[in-house]
Subunit: 85 residues, 2 copies
């Protein structure tokens, strides 16, 4: 495999691994008090845009990382918005 791709996939593993415990904690405790809706909306939008960027470039490390993080952060944002009702 090409060196840049190896670096990309390693980066991908680090990003997803560092993001998962936070997601897991929020989903398990259902405690979303500390989550800023506005900031999280930006996070979700960022992941969505990076995914689009990755698709346009055909870069799989970017697509995989960001679509996965987009789904996870999307779940949290949805739960947060529902909890505010």
């Amino acid at each position: 495999m090409e060196t840049a791709l190896v670096v990309g996939y390693l980066a991908s593993v680090c990003s997803v691994t560092s993001f998962l415990p936070q997601v897991w904690k929020i989903l398990k405790t259902e405690d979303m008090a500390a989550i800023s809706t506005r900031m999280y909306a930006l996070t979700v939008t960022g992941f969505a845009l990076w995914s689009v960027f990755g698709i346009m470039r055909g870069e799989w490390p970017i697509i995989l990382t960001n679509s996965l993080c987009f789904c996870l952060s999307g779940v949290i944002l949805t739960k947060k918005l529902r909890s505010r009702r």
Copy 2:
């Protein structure tokens, strides 16, 4: 400017903007109790690897976002490691 680049820079702005308040809060309060050293080390490594990936691909949105986030998260990790002494 090429469409993919526009998407990339928009993604970049979202990522950095959503990351800054967290960094600012930690640096201002100097309260790093909630920061997991192991997880943050992964975050910092991830940003470093993404920067290398961006440099190898010559993709400026990736380079700018991740090198900036690398520096900011690096400062937090350094402070956290020092506070544990």
